[in-house]
């Protein structure tokens, strides 16, 4: 079995890496281009700037029922002082512009209030003010520059329908939840095997993002046959580094702790310390700023029916699915899945059965950290990252894991999907800033009904 185990790592890793590579290359090549609309007749051609010290009231009338909006000529506008004296009038020109000079210098006018009126009957047939009551605007001047006003014509563009928005949000949520799932799977595996509630898991996520950033920031692009593959290489390096980091972490920290017989609560507190430590070390080296990667920061979205999805998100989605399926199958198909559960239940007994406990745990740490790191880079690709990337979503990762049932692989996936999609879609009904709150409330409600999580199992007393 030791050989079996030893083979499992490279095998599942190479599978994962190949998948990442394939998808990222495809994603990179598919970067879409969007044409711009042809030019229309000129609208709102503004008069030449003046150098005198006067204030004008200007505006441009357009009919926004067409795209692009059409200029509305020949509408008459007047400006009255607060007492009702007309101080100037104008009619809009061919491009829709009106321009009324105010008497006096700018200093005279600061603090003055004027009323700008539009003559409704001077509007062309069929045009209506957007807000019929808004025929006069009171403007108080507090700037020494020209003052612009507008009289919108035509309805406000129809917003996107609720259903479409829900769909769009769900797709966004799906991408997020898959990334969450990778992190949660890692967390769940580590918990499942060692019983450690690892509060430093968030930092494993950040670690991936930061390593990739380091590679990305190396001077020059990495090119293969002329294609810029900097990001692909960065992702691969990040995953490998994360695996190594997980392995080292286990070897250097957690294994000695286990051998000293440190309890699970003490270990949990150690992980808190480690989390604080790592987070600040990350900040030490990467600063506190938000970062984006050099490639694919701003991909234009594809429109698939009502749903917009960028090639990047699509790539991330496919990568995540492939990786999740690969890892889950690897865990299910091999005896290591059972070995991890055996180790989780009772390490001493597992050893008594001939399982090399330390090696199983090493593998789990490596794979778990690799998953976390990968989810970190991909998260960084989709939304940018800073040194708190992992810390800020850690609670969601936990929520996902627990919702599904701690230590249960399928639970982690199910929990992530629920949490990730719920977070996005719920913003239709609750304020966006409370979206995490909503997900956490769901977590608590579920635990009320099923204290052991959705796929967890109750324990026997006595």
């Amino acid at each position: 079995m030791p050989t079996r185990l030893r083979h499992l790592v490279p095998r599942s890793l190479s599978l994962v890496l190949a998948a990442v590579l394939a998808v990222l290359v495809v994603g990179g090549v598919l970067t879409a281009t969007a044409g711009s609309a042809g030019a229309a007749e000129p609208t709102c051609v503004r008069p030449q700037p003046r150098t005198d010290d006067t204030i004008h009231i200007l505006g441009c009338l357009t009919d926004s029922r067409t795209t692009p909006p059409k200029a509305v000529p020949d509408a008459s506008i007047s400006v009255e002082s607060e007492d009702g004296d007309v101080v100037g009038t104008d009619t809009t020109d061919q491009t829709g512009i009106f321009d009324i000079a105010l008497p006096g210098t700018s200093t005279d006018n600061i603090g003055e209030t004027y009323v700008v009126k539009i003559a409704r009957d001077s509007l062309p047939k069929g045009t209506k003010l957007r807000n019929p009551k808004q025929e006069a605007l009171r403007v108080t001047l507090n700037l020494d520059s020209d003052r612009f006003v507008t009289f919108p014509i035509g309805d406000i563009p129809q917003g996107t329908s609720l259903g479409t928005r829900a769909l769009q949000l769900a797709v966004g949520g799906l991408v997020f939840s898959l990334l969450l799932a990778m992190a949660a799977l890692g967390l769940s595996m580590i918990f499942g095997t060692t019983g450690l509630t690892n509060f430093a898991h968030g930092e494993l996520i950040t670690f991936g993002a930061i390593v990739a950033y380091g590679v990305d920031r190396l001077p020059g692009d990495i090119r293969v046959f002329g294609t810029n593959v900097t990001m692909v290489v960065s992702v691969l390096v990040a995953v490998v580094a994360s695996v190594a980091f997980g392995w080292l972490q286990d070897k250097g920290l957690w294994r000695p702790l286990r051998h000293r017989g440190t309890g699970i609560i003490a270990a949990m507190i150690v992980s808190i310390g480690f989390s604080v430590f790592l987070r600040n070390v990350f900040q030490y080296f990467a600063g506190a700023d938000n970062h984006n990667y050099s490639q694919w920061t701003n991909p234009k979205p594809w429109s698939l029916g009502p749903v917009d999805i960028t090639p990047k998100d699509f790539g991330v989605l496919v990568t995540a699915v492939v990786v999740l399926v690969a890892v889950t199958l690897a865990v299910q198909r091999t005896r290591i899945g059972k070995a991890t559960r055996a180790v989780a239940d009772n390490p001493a007994l597992a050893a008594s059965s001939g399982i090399n406990v330390d090696r199983v745990i090493s593998v789990v740490w490596s794979v778990g950290a690799g998953l976390a790191g990968l989810s970190g880079v991909l998260l960084g690709m989709t939304q940018g990252f800073d040194y708190q990337l992992g810390f800020k979503i850690l609670l969601l990762v936990f929520a996902a894991t627990i919702l599904g049932g701690l230590g249960n692989i399928w639970g982690a996936l199910v929990g992530s999907l629920i949490i990730g999609i719920f977070i996005e879609v719920s913003t239709l009904f609750i304020p966006a800033e409370l979206k995490f709150v909503g997900a956490l409330v769901v977590l608590i409600l579920v635990l009320l009904v099923r204290p052991q999580g959705l796929l967890g199992r109750a324990e026997r007393v006595g």
Binding site: M1, R335, K338, A339, R341, A342, A344, D345, N346, A348, L349, A350, A351, S352, S353, G354, I355, N356, V357, R457, E459, R460
Partner: protein, 273 residues
Amino acid sequence: MTHAASTSDPSPVPAGATAEPEGIDRSEHLAAAEGAILRADDLVAGYFPGVNILNNADLYCREGELVGIIGPNGAGKSTLLKALFGLVKIHTGAVSLNGEDITNKRADALVTKGIGFVPQTNNVFPSLTIQENLEMGVFQRPKSFRKQFDFVGDLFPPLMERRDQRAGSLSGGERQMVAMGRALMMEPSVLLLDEPSAGLSPVMQDEVFVQTRKINKAGVSVIMVEQNARRCLQICDRGYVLDHGRNAYTASGSDLANDPKVIELYLGTLAQK
């Protein structure tokens, strides 16, 4: 029979009491242990530094021998087995298997060398099913699973019936069967059993003893700790009485079972009524 130590304390006192055997003569052990398949010499071991549970314990088991260990609660019987199996740190002393030093070796390495162990408590994987528990028994040789599984299934039919039930939900006795079954799966050459019959129904207890004997007859050396002392001594070739972390008496099973001192201190008279 050998009175390795003379003790004057009449009460059957668990650990911590005053009756401490003194001045053990180790010469006999040294002479007899020569060529034993498993031997432990002068073990001092414990759970915390500074607190020793085993105090110069000796033990040997010859090839094909069935050795029983009895003794009061807290005497260190389980600790001795765990120390042999690398689960408790040995401070001084040595354990060797077939002449090879295995002191403080990792348990899984010892499994590879052919030692099997059934702990007294926590001896199943609660979240694995019965079948998976048994699979763990042949973790290092998955190929032999089918054959061994049939063998163990014959031994404990209820396990076959419930093979997909999680061990955590089993009754105490059912767990014991799983634990025993797991160890038998690995076809060990030396088998360490810690109270294998505890919690089993009488018929199952008999079955365990008979099977242990049978396995032993087939060439497996067995060291078993039992509180079902009389039964244990009935089947074993040689027995040890452990007290205060060292062996107080050692002799053949039947000699021990009939020694009035042992009866008074350790066996009681209940079963004879």
